[in-house]
Amino acid sequence: MIHQQFNLSPRLSVAKNVLAGSLPAVSTLRALLHLFPARLRRKACDLVARVGLEAEHLHRRASDLSGGQQQRVGIARAFILDPAVVLADEPVASLDPNISRDILALRRQASKERGATVLCSLHQVDLAREFAERVVGVHSGEIVYDGPASDLDDATLTLIYHQTKPGSPVPTTGAVEAGGRR
């Protein structure tokens, strides 16, 4: 799971936050003593490096990082147990466009390496076009488009964003992207 607001433990270090993603696989006693197995510690370091952070970041508090860096930590945390499915709830909603692109690219790379399916909600159509394989458009809770990203043309977009029914003040939109398992 990757969250819109990152949802890291702000006062824990980056390393501890990534390791917290492996809590279900660690015995309670080990968890309470903060003693993670060597394999997971190794993996956390690899993931932190993979998402583009440096060794110096490992022991910094998560709250001392910028938004983009925090979301990188969030991605590392999501992938530490090699999940089959990753849910991402607007992972780039609070980030600027350049960082958004980096983060989504990272996310795509991580899911390809591990063969994970990613279900990701997005508001940015261009990002959905660029990174998704399958796009599902939702308007007022109904699916109005479901098809490959390449077929997402302007007509469909109008359908998603401007099909304003009387009484619905703002069109609720969501581009759902799935990076398929391969």
Binding site: N7, S9, R11, K16, P24, A31, L32
Partner: protein, 341 residues
């Protein structure tokens, strides 16, 4: 100005809204009633006498009155408290295991000769007896004793705090609405926390002294149990109010309650916990002094004993030691807080 608001104003009929005065006769009457109640209560707690005595003392200070009860009382207290008793002088014949070759540090033996005139029963003559008494004089002996008692008080406070933290952690988990195992445990934990907080240390110390006898055990238990009630409540409320984000993230990946608590909640609330615990330590030191008076060990017990024996010189040494200790404690705890948070 565009025309639109004018049109709107023109079209609008006079509204029924109104702005009332901020208070009305009922509130004024209520305030007067409260004032009357306070006036009656002030009489009952000797408010008039307080004013009269203080006025008299003020006149005495500027020279309009010759005597004042407060002035006399304070002067008597000042005279009896001064000078502080630092040394100790003990008759050697009363000491057990006294070894003249191995005197305690900084001490000396003084001999005092006293002459007594007695009547010899056989000859019926008066005879003069010379009696030599030996005293062990320790110039800073009493100060040392006070220091030892003060350390005991600090130890009582420290163990009271450790006990409070140990008891309050399970109570806090049970008493936090979002982490309690069941509604029954929640009610029991909250009830116990309120109960512990409701009993003042002085009162529980009185009874614990009966159970465990005079000394530090009663003090530690009394302080620890009361503070556990305080900490249990505040720890639990912080757990309930912690930011949900990190907790949701860990719940979403399937981490158990205890693990979420440890990684999602504890790091957030940690600075507050340190602050509460230091406050409790600070408070326990002061309370440990007070509950010593009912026999729960430490400097308070010594203070009470000396006060009852009218040894005001000793009392004043103890009071000075208390001021110094509380002052130093303030400094130390401020530093610890600054470093940990």
């Amino acid at each position: 100005m565009t025309g639109a608001p004018r049109v709107a104003m023109g079209n609008r009929a006079a509204v029924e809204w109104e702005l009332r005065q901020p208070y009305n006769a009922k509130i004024v009457a209520l305030v007067l009633l409260v004032a009357l109640g306070l006036g009656i209560s002030a009489q009952r707690v000797e408010g008039q006498r307080f004013l009269a005595l203080t006025w008299e003392w003020g006149q005495n200070l500027v020279g309009l009155q010759d005597t004042s009860q407060i002035g006399q009382g304070l002067a008597r207290m000042g005279e009896s408290l001064f000078p502080p008793q630092l040394g100790e002088r003990t008759e050697i014949s009363r000491l057990e295991n006294f070894d003249p070759d191995r005197l305690p540090w900084f001490s000396r033996v003084e001999r005092q000769e006293s002459r007594e005139v007695r009547v010899n029963r056989q000859s019926l003559r008066t005879e003069t007896h010379a009696e030599v008494k030996e005293f062990l004089v320790q110039p800073l002996g009493y100060l040392w004793r006070v220091a030892v008692k003060m350390v005991e008080t600090l130890e009582i406070a420290l163990w009271g705090t450790i006990l409070a933290v140990a008891v309050s952690i399970p109570l806090a988990i049970g008493g936090a609405r979002n982490y309690t195992p069941s509604a029954g445990v929640y009610a029991a934990a909250r009830g116990l926390v309120s109960f512990l907080r409701a009993i003042p240390e002085m009162i529980s110390a009185l009874f614990l002294v009966l159970a465990y006898g005079f000394g530090p055990i009663a003090g530690i238990l009394a302080l620890g149990l009361h503070a556990a009630g305080f900490l249990g409540k505040f720890y639990a409320e912080d757990v309930e109010n912690a930011d949900r984000g990190p907790q949701e993230a860990l719940q979403a990946i399937g981490a158990g309650k205890l693990k979420v608590l440890w990684f999602g909640v504890l790091p957030q609330v940690f600075p507050q916990y340190i602050a509460y615990t230091l406050y409790i330590l600070d408070r326990n030191v002061r309370m440990a002094i007070v509950i010593g008076i009912v026999g729960a060990g430490g400097i308070g017990q010594e203070l009470k004993g000396r006060y009852d024996m009218f040894n005001y010189g000793h009392v004043s040494t103890i009071l000075l030691a208390l001021f110094v200790t509380v002052f130093l404690l303030d400094q130390v705890s401020a530093r610890i807080r600054a470093r940990l948070i």
